[in-house]
Amino acid sequence: MTPEKTAPEQAANGNKNRIGLTVADYRGAKSTLCPGCGHDAITGSIIQAAFEAGIEPHRVAKLSGIGCSSKTPAYFLSRSHGFNAVHGRMPSIATGVSVANRSLTLLGVSGDGDTASIGLGQFLHLVRRNVPLLYIVENNGVYGLTKGQFSATADVGSKAKSGRVNELMPIDVCALAIELGCGFVARSFSGDPKQLRPILKAALSHRGTAVVDVISPCVTFNNHEGSTKSYLNVKEHDAPLHDIFFIPRYENIEVDYAPGESREVTLHDGSRITLKKLGEDYDPGDALRALETIHHGRQEDKFVTGLLYVDPDKEPFEQDLKLVETPLASLPLEKVRPPKEVLDEVMSGLMTGKA
């Protein structure tokens, strides 16, 4: 039993997380995105989620590609190492980082152009390998930095600011991820931090690739009438599957719901996700059901949000590679340079010219 704390002490500790850091320790540089950008709201949720989860900033590698969304890693966790890669190629960087140091937590931020167009190949192969990282797609259906062209996630019938209407099928990154066996697939909305934060915290606890597609309205180029990804339209058509609560492994909280009202998923590190039923019962362990739900949602012009699919036990990439526990990056010379006898052995095998 710990002695009961006085009220002022509790308030002081309330500003610090379990490793003694304040929320300010998780912030980054000032955002240079447009005021009101959905991406900044996601940045806020990332900061809050990392703070609440008590993640050690120096153990995090922030990764991104190119685009408005890919700028955001500069705006959170300034103590972490960051890597703003080339357009669409963050997944390959992430793969190298993850394999070189398996003890790091990888946090990747990409956009719909970066992921669904130029980077689609790398994204799919990342998922296929199950490289451990939280991969956030800040999805606004539009190219912001180059001023308003459609991206590959634009919905059929959505109207651009120029008046052009998109006729092409959108690429659904969540459906693709599920198809390739991704062990954690969620969709959320930048305007719903109550849903997004527990998803982010759970995704950070998942071992393997966690894909979180966040609809994030572009206030400058895609927020007009006729755009399916305007703030108002998303808000109106957001169809959450469930209420989500995340209980970290170090907390021993029981959430009581009436039987049949909720589902619980235990992640590999012992932390738990509780999903409280809203309407129909939804089983996030059923990949076919997840794909069906995504398709139905699209037919009904709804953004189905929540934890779409989860499989906590899928083997992550570094286990496939059977790596030593020590990060490859930290191995000393004597572990990686074989002794002279090995060279002698190889050389004598090649030496058939007898004296």
Binding site: F83, P91, I93, L328, A329, R337
Partner: protein
């Protein structure tokens, strides 16, 4: 020049996928075991099975390992190519023909042997499929008899290859014996032969890609990502083989390395950059088209200052080109690879030993200079068999460059990722996971200042670019210097690099025999070191030998030393076959004659 004992070449024409490799390797090793230097060159089509393929074994007591245009012994097994193969043989040559192959009219000054290979093999191997694979071993027996190759050595070489498959060994042994017996009974020995010498004792036979893999292994590589492409795949696969054997704990199965076959070359270099940035020793292997795909990331790595080791086993371009032929034509595009102002460190292996040492050194340079380092090998070095002294175990530890640990950071007030503190253009870096509040920084390909913060400030941009140029200047004293062989009184210089080296060595001897002495500079790296300039200054004329159309090395030398450019003359070879000595001799002599006439 006529063939003589221990100085001739054997040209074997077979069909791809017919098991001729075992036969040819057996012949080559048997001669090598008799103490006579050999080299083996594959000429193969971009195909898996059923198309013509040739293998040339050069036997040279003097140790000349380059390709020679003159073939002295032809083994014509392939009816598809026999007419052309036979027509290419000169006076005095020996033609061993598979009975029944189409043949043109053969002049009387060639020695012709016809052997009914297909009839001979029939009773030996009842299975028709297997027969196709064993028939080649019969010519090993015939050729060994004709050229006086010791059968004990043949057997030893065969056992070295097939010792683990007793059934196959027995059958191949029987085939060799069959050939030998047939030849003893029906054929008279050739006018030139292999004679025992003692010139290969303690030497090894190895391909350059295998040597490069060994270099990476002893250089402490921890990460390899690659995408299959000829002729570089054998480097990656050979390295993977060594790593599995020597760097995986036999008890726990745990590996001190990772090999990832990427989805393309863009991902391959991306993974290398991610791993290097995190502190692993990371490399990739590729060839022409793959190198082109790595261009954007290369510029990123140059500007953001991330180590990377990139092996390019050059083949003939542009585009798919001749994917199974050799070239030195990636030089210029690699030297400045990427958009924007970039220039790169390039290592130029000329020998299998260079492949081994550069396999290690490339990592040291990449980590010291925090930049991509290219190793430009080629198909001739990489995929052909070369004789070499055995490789030496490294006598130095590795150089991981300027990396600050948490303990280092504890002694300092601030850390600025891109600040030149030592005046050599090389800043300090930290690795992700370093447990210190100062350690973190933001890597980006966009404009940045000394603290790695985003900026578009003109002065800052220029300052960073100037420092990168200064860093390249520092590299001049760190890269391997050229090897220079000066001949007293010689006014003619030859400058070469990479696989051209072997043809140059031989050409110099021939030129000297004709009264033209030369000095020689074998270039090992870019940027050019001071020795290059003084060599150019000291010569009246310098022949720059290279295997490309556009005189790419001469172009680089001209950019660097415009005042010396008028002394440079090009010797070019770009038909996809390895350069040979005679091509150099002919071009030099012709240019020298022109020079005399114009005087």
């Amino acid at each position: 020049m006529k063939a003589s004992n221990n100085d001739f070449s054997i040209h074997v024409a077979t069909v791809n996928g017919s098991g001729s490799q075992t036969a040819n390797t057996t012949l080559m090793r048997a001669i090598f075991q008799m103490g006579v230097p050999v080299s083996g060159k594959n000429l193969f089509p971009s195909n898996i099975a059923g198309l013509p393929t040739w293998f040339t074994i050069r036997v040279s007591e003097r140790g000349y390992l380059a390709r020679t245009r003159r073939n002295d012994v032809l083994v014509a097994m392939n009816p598809e190519t026999s007419v052309e193969d036979i027509a290419s043989m000169g006076p005095g040559s020996i033609l061993l023909l598979n009975e029944g192959v189409p043949a043109p009219k053969i002049p009387d000054d060639r020695v012709v042997y016809k052997v009914p290979f297909n009839k001979l093999v029939e009773p030996l191997v009842p299975d028709a499929k297997l027969r196709k694979l064993v028939v080649n071993m019969i010519y090993v027996g015939v050729v060994s008899h004709l050229l006086g190759i010791d059968f004990e050595e043949v057997d030893h070489a065969l056992t070295a290859q097939l010792g683990r498959k007793p059934k196959a060994l027995d059958m191949n042994r029987a085939a060799v014996k069959l050939g030998a017996e047939y030849a003893t009974e029906h054929l008279k020995p050739a006018p030139f032969r292999v004679e025992r010498r003692n010139k290969t004792a303690d030497k090894v036979l190895i391909e350059g890609n295998q040597a490069g893999a060994l270099g990476a292994l002893f250089g402490g590589v921890t990460f390899l990502s690659w995408y299959p492409i000829t002729p570089s795949s054998s480097l990656a696969e050979s390295l993977q083989g060594y790593l599995e054997r020597y760097r995986r704990d036999p008890k726990t199965g745990e590996a001190t390395f990772a090999v990832v076959q990427a989805e393309d070359e863009i991902a391959a270099i991306g993974m290398v950059l991610g791993a290097s940035w995190t502190g692993a020793r990371a490399m990739t292997t590729t060839s022409g088209p793959g190198l082109s795909l790595m261009t954007e990331f290369t510029g990123f790595a140059y500007y953001a200052e991330i180590p990377a080791v990139i092996w390019d086993i050059q083949r003939v371009g542009p585009s798919t080109g001749l994917p199974t032929r050799t070239s030195q034509a990636d030089l210029l595009s690699t030297a400045f690879m990427s958009h924007g102002d970039t220039k790169h460190i390039i290592l130029l292996p000329a020998t299998v030993e260079d492949c081994y040492t550069f396999g290690m050194r490339a990592f040291d340079l990449a980590e010291r200079f925090q930049t991509p380092v290219f190793v430009l090998s080629d198909l001739d070095i990489g995929m052909n068999t070369w004789m070499s002294d055995p490789f030496q175990y490294p006598d130095k530890p590795w150089d991981r460059g300027k990396v600050l640990t948490a303990e280092d950071l504890a002694k300092t007030a601030k850390f600025e990722r891109y600040r030149d503190l030592d005046g050599d253009g090389i800043p300090y870096r930290t690795l992700p996971g370093t447990d210190h509040p100062l350690a973190g920084y933001f890597t980006r390909g966009s404009g940045h200042d000394e603290q790695a913060l985003y900026t578009e400030n003109p002065d800052t941009y220029k300052r960073v670019m100037d420092r990168l140029a200064a860093k390249y200047e520092t590299a001049r004293v760190a890269v391997p210097p050229p090897v220079i062989d000066r001949t007293k009184g010689a006014e003619i210089g030859i400058l070469g690099f990479g696989s051209s080296h072997w043809a140059i060595l031989e050409a110099r001897d021939r030129l000297a025999a004709d009264g033209l002495t030369t000095s020689y500079l074998l270039l090992k790296a870019l940027p050019f070191t001071k020795e290059v300039k003084s060599f150019l200054e000291s010569m009246k004329v310098i022949y720059v030998v290279e295997q490309n159309r556009d005189a790419q090395m001469k172009a680089l030398l001209t950019m660097e030393y415009p005042e010396l450019a008028t002394k440079l003359r090009s010797i070019l070879h770009y038909d996809g076959l390895p350069i040979d000595a005679q091509s150099i001799v002919d071009q030099v002599q012709e240019r020298e004659r022109e020079g005399v006439l114009s005087r």
